[in-house]
Symmetry: C2
Subunit: 268 residues, 2 copies
C-alpha cells in the first residue's frame, strides 16, 4: 500500500483543552485530531506535532504530520478533516509532502507570541490574554529582553522536571515587545524552546516591567543555569504558537492568513 505523508498547519483555541499532548485523563488537541483521522481512515492514525503546547495555550500555526493511504488532494484533506473537527480546532492548510519531512525534527525555527492586557474587567478576554493591572515599564522590559538574545543555556528558564539528558542550549533570534491598542504583544523567535521557557521568560520580563526584578538579577538568573533560579511563569492563556518554520516556503508569508487571525484576535 502506497503511503503518503501529509503535513498540516492548524489553529486552535486552546481554552477547552488540556494542551496538545495525549493524556490519559483529559481532552487534548492531539486526541481530538487523531480521533477524527482514525474515523476517516477506519483504523488508528497517529500524528506528530512540531512540539507540545501546554494546557490552555493557543495556536495560530501549529504543524503536524501523519501518513495515509488515502488519495485526497490538499483542498479535500482540509475540507474533510475540518468537517469532522470541533470548530475551535481548524486546519488551515494541508500539504502532500515526502517521507523525509518530520514536523518536529525538520523544524528550524518557531515563533511564539505572548499577549498581556490591563482590561481586567472584560470577561471576554481572559482566555486569550494574560491580565496584568499594574503599569509596565516597557522600555525597561525591552532592555532586559536583550539579555536573552543569541545562544544560551536556558536551564534556568525551564521546568525543573525536564529530562537532564536533553540539550538546554537554544538560540533566540528575536524578542520584540510592542504596545498595541489595549494590550502588549511579546514576540519570541528562536530555533526551539524548552518546556515552559516562553512563559518563564515572559513572566521574568513582566516582573522587570513592574520593577520587581533588575536587569542584573535576570542576568545572574540566566548565568546560574540553575533549574531553581526562576520562580516566574506567565499564565498559559496569553500564549500563542504562531508559526513553525521548515526553512522552505513555510515562512511568514505562507502564514499570512494565520497572522491576520492573530492580529485580529488580539484586537479583541
Amino acid at each position: 500500500m502506497m503511503m503518503q505523508r501529509i503535513k498540516m498547519i492548524c489553529s486552535y483555541d486552546g481554552s477547552a483543552y488540556r494542551g496538545w499532548q495525549r493524556q490519559s485523563n483529559a481532552r487534548s488537541i492531539q486526541v481530538v485530531i487523531e480521533e477524527a483521522l482514525s474515523k476517516m481512515h477506519k483504523h488508528p492514525v497517529s500524528i506528530t506535532a512540531s512540539g507540545r503546547t501546554d494546557a490552555y495555550v493557543h495556536a495560530i500555526g501549529q504543524v503536524f504530520h501523519f501518513d495515509s493511504e488515502k488519495e485526497l488532494d490538499e483542498f479535500h484533506w482540509c475540507a474533510a478533516l475540518n468537517s469532522m473537527l470541533p470548530k475551535d480546532i481548524r486546519i488551515q492548510k494541508a500539504e502532500l509532502t515526502d517521507s523525509h519531512f518530520h514536523a518536529r525534527f525538520s523544524a528550524i525555527a518557531k515563533r511564539y507570541e505572548y499577549l498581556i492586557t490591563d482590561r481586567i474587567h472584560d470577561p471576554f478576554i481572559q482566555k486569550y490574554m494574560a491580565l496584568e493591572k499594574e503599569r509596565l515599564d516597557v522600555a525597561y522590559m525591552r532592555e532586559c529582553a536583550q539579555l536573552f538574545l543569541g545562544t544560551h543555556d536556558f536551564t534556568s528558564f525551564t521546568s525543573a522536571k525536564i529530562d537532564a539528558r536533553k540539550p538546554r542550549i537554544k538560540t533566540i533570534y528575536g524578542l520584540d515587545i510592542k504596545e498595541e491598542d489595549g494590550f502588549l504583544r511579546m514576540s519570541f523567535i528562536g530555533n526551539g524552546f524548552l518546556r515552559y521557557m516562553v512563559r518563564m521568560l515572559a513572566q521574568t520580563l513582566i516582573e522587570a516591567g513592574k520593577h520587581r526584578l533588575r536587569k542584573e538579577e535576570i542576568r545572574r538568573m540566566l548565568e546560574s543555569k540553575d533549574k531553581q533560579a526562576c520562580r516566574y511563569k506567565a499564565s498559559p492563556q496569553g500564549l500563542y504558537l504562531v508559526w513553525v518554520s521548515y526553512g522552505g516556503k513555510e515562512d511568514e508569508s505562507e502564514l499570512s492568513y494565520a497572522y491576520h487571525a492573530l492580529s485580529s484576535c488580539a484586537r479583541q
Copy 2:
C-alpha cells in the same frame, strides 16, 4: 435587621454556561453568582435578573438585584464579588437602590446585539459570533427588518413551549443592521423580548439575506401569529444582551464601558 437592595450590572462570556437560569443539572450563571454571594453572606442569597439568557449567550450589561444586610459601598460591592467570581463573569457596577427597584419588572427597554461573521476558519471566533459563509444581501435584510418595527403580536417568533397565558405583544423600537470590519452587527431595541425571539428574528433576516425568504413570506409569518410559522433560530453564540434600561440614569452613557467592551470584542 436593615436590608438594602443592591442593583448590579454584570458582563459574562456565556461560552462555559448553560444560560442564566438555575438548572438542576448544569452550571448556570445565576448559580455561580448566588454561590459567591451566599459564601460572602454565610447564608443563602437569591438574585433576580432582568430576564434569562439562553445557554452560550453572552451579556455586556445584564442587570440583577438582591437584598443584603451587609453594609458595603458600591465600590466594595464590586470588588468583593469580583474577587469571588470566575473571570468570565464580571460585575461592572453596583448600586445601592430602594426596595421598589426590581431588575425584571422595572425594566422598560432592552438592547440585544447579534453578530455574524464569514470567518469560518478562525477557531477563536466561533464562541462569539455566528458563522455564515454565504454572502448576505444586507440591503434586503434591512428592508425586511422594517416589518418588525413597532408593536406586534410576536407569537410566530417565540418558543412553541411558551406559556399560553403570557402576553406576546411587544414593541420593537429599533432594528439596525450594520456592516463592520469582518462581521455584521444586528441591533435590537425593544420594550421586551419573548423567549428565543431575538434569535428567531435574526435567523429569519439571515434567511432573507440569502434570498431564501421573501419579505411577503416574512410578513405572512408575523401576521399568522402561529407558533409553528417560523422554523428559524440563530445559534446562541452570536447573541449579546447589551443593556437594560430602567428609564433613569441607566441609559447608554452609563454603559459606555460595556459598549466599549462589546465593540472591541466584536473587533476580534
